[in-house]
């Protein structure tokens, strides 16, 4: 017991002089600033470095080429930045589509039991196949390309969020004020948009942000496997799969820096999502 008290004391000491909410806010803002810089720099970076230049091929990292150059003399830093930019926009598109699907399904499942069963069955169906295989099938069906990747990533990521939102909707639906509203003759659409949707908003925003890491990782994975984007587009997955062929020749910078940048971007989104949850969904957020 004494130990327990000491532990609690230590905890309170740790938070002394530091407001967890303020801390979460600062971290979130920092993450947003970092991400925006990444995206803006990626959008406006000088693309001259992408030209083939055999004078400067296979250069290890130096001051002129911080990330080194590849076997065609292309600057890896610029390729990486462009790739991250592309990943970001694919993430935006896929996450938006996923959120829209998830919201409509979770509201649909609140209408009646049959629709709920249909939605649960659909969730089980999409969770029942590995995401990568679904992605392969979809991009195969659409003949590859950007469209295949975006649609594939969007179609594989809604089930997780839908399951979360559906549980939330179930909980809200059992509240008294919903019953009162029903007795007052409001339609399910009115109740859905006025009583349920506002409560879902925090979950939605956090879910949207936390979808990014998954979407970006899956986009990189599917491109890495050779589906999706064509090889002249500067996607991170393409860079990594090309780099793999040159690994045994000791050109470590080809895989290391792009892979590490991808990791940092995903990590930033993860940090942002978790800290935002602490801010706007405190009950669930403080647990982590």
């Amino acid at each position: 017991m004494a130990k327990h008290i000491r532990l609690k004391y230590k905890l309170s000491q740790r938070f002394e002089g530091r407001n967890p909410r303020k801390h979460a806010l600062i971290v979130s803002i920092a993450a947003i600033v970092c991400l925006f810089t990444l995206v803006i720099v990626g959008a406006f970076v000088n693309v001259e470095g992408l030209d083939v230049n055999f004078m400067a091929k296979n250069n290890p990292p130096s001051f002129t080429h911080i990330f080194g150059t590849d076997w065609l003399g292309r600057d890896m830093l610029i390729r990486t930045l462009k790739g991250l930019n592309l990943s970001f926009w694919i993430g935006v598109l896929a996450a938006t589509l996923s959120v829209i699907i998830a919201v409509s399904f979770s509201i649909l499942s609140s209408v009646n039991k049959t629709l709920d069963a249909v939605v649960t069955w659909l969730i089980d169906l999409f969770m029942g196949i590995p995401h990568i295989i679904t992605l392969i099938l979809i991009s195969f069906a659409l003949g590859g390309g950007l469209k295949g990747v975006v649609i594939g990533v969007a179609l594989t990521h809604w089930p997780m969020l839908t399951r979360l939102l559906r549980a939330e909707v179930m909980q809200i639906k059992s509240m008294e004020y919903i019953g009162v509203s029903q007795n007052m003759g409001k339609s399910w659409w009115w109740i859905g948009t006025h009583h349920i949707l506002p409560h879902l908003l925090p979950q939605l925003i956090v879910g949207f942000i936390l979808l990014f890491p998954h979407a970006i990782l899956h986009e990189a994975a599917i491109t890495f496997l050779g589906f999706g984007l064509s090889s002249e587009q500067p996607a991170i997955g393409i860079i990594l799969s090309e780099a793999m062929r040159y690994l045994s020749s000791g050109m470590w910078w080809l895989a290391f820096f792009p892979g590490f940048s991808l990791l940092i971007m995903v990590f930033l989104f993860d940090v942002l999502g978790r800290n935002l949850r602490k801010l706007i969904d405190p009950l669930n957020g403080q647990k982590l």
Partner: protein
């Protein structure tokens, strides 16, 4: 009984849906199966020969007839002939899956043991330095893509240090019968390690959260009042309550395991199921692609079923709930 019946109905309905959906997706593809079959020789093949292949495969029939023909042989256990391997799909899945199974089971056990240990270490002392370290490690791990990690490990351990071979499941150029068990294990270790790291984060975080919940419960407070503490307390009241859910969750993660295996096999050129699904997708090998899709759905379903069954058989509380509702 009711439980098993319900589950089997669900499996059948899911399988039917998976086969219909994947068939629609695959058949709407712009990839020409005849060209995929002939490959680079397509210039030498005349129009009449093409016609013959198309009639032989039944490509002139409607999509629905094609689907019914395919599903009829599927029910009879015939998955068709693979276009790139020129062997029956069932046979390829069987041999490839054996290699994948070795990889996946080793990774599964490793990630379970590591994840659980880390979770217990973190959860036992909430808020301590070790807890924050493990938590941070897990969050960082969650953002590492499996194939990136594989590349880095490959670079460090296989290329620089030369401890492990660069790829494949057995030494290059040797006959299959000359491969020793030791060599096989040597080829297996690095991919399995990569794959296991991906699964550690979720199981560790789950275990940690559950353990913290248990340690803050009334019965633990009572046990502390009786004078129990330290490892005894953790063993008697903590671990017993969290082990089962953790194992169950780990069985339910078969989907991520399978997906991760595809990437890891591609990085390490490990000749497993994942590598062949990628090949099938890239080369338009429709029978193999469909076969592996259905196989993976069954694989994941079995994992989820075991997870449910564990709860059902061991925890008496769920049994009561099932019989009531």
């Amino acid at each position: 009984m009711n439980f098993i019946l319900k589950k089997s109905i669900k499996l059948v309905s899911l399988l039917i849906a998976v086969s219909i959906l994947s068939f629609i997706l695959v058949s709407s593809s712009p990839v020409d199966p005849v060209r995929a079959y002939i490959g680079s020789e397509s210039i030498n093949v005349s129009q009449s020969q093409r016609e013959k292949i198309e009639t032989y495969w039944g490509l002139h029939e409607s999509k629905t007839t094609q689907f019914f023909n395919w599903s009829k042989s599927l029910v009879q256990g015939n998955l068709g002939q693979s276009l790139i391997y020129r062997r029956p799909v069932g046979e390829i899945i069987a041999t490839r899956f054996r290699a994948s199974l070795a990889l996946m089971s080793l990774a599964w056990v490793l990630s379970g043991v590591f994840g659980f240990t880390l979770g217990v270490l973190a959860g036992a002392r909430e808020g301590s330095f070790l807890d924050r370290l493990i938590k941070g490690y897990c969050f960082a791990l969650a953002s590492v893509p499996a194939f990136c990690l594989g590349l880095i490990l490959l670079m460090v351990f296989a290329v620089w240090l030369g401890w492990f071979p660069v790829g494949l499941a057995s030494p290059f150029g040797g006959l299959a019968k000359n491969v020793t068990i030791l060599e096989k294990i040597q080829h297996l270790l690095l991919p399995a390690l990569t794959l296991s790291v991906v699964g550690v984060a979720s199981i560790a975080l789950h275990t940690r959260e559950k353990l913290i919940d248990v340690m803050n419960s009334e019965f633990v407070r009572f046990a502390k009042a009786k004078g129990e503490s330290g490892v005894t307390l953790l063993w008697r009241h903590g671990l017993r309550n969290i082990t089962l859910p953790a194992i169950s969750l780990h069985f339910a993660s078969f989907g991520e395991l399978f997906g991760g295996a595809i990437l890891v096999e591609e990085v390490f050129s490990y000749p497993g199921l994942g590598q062949s699904v990628v090949k099938a997708g890239l080369n338009g090998d429709i029978p193999l692609l469909l076969g592996i899709t259905i196989f993976s759905a069954i694989f994941i379903f079995i994992g989820n079923l075991i997870a449910d069954l564990l709860y059902f058989l061991i925890d008496p509380r769920t049994k009561r709930k099932w019989s009531h509702g």
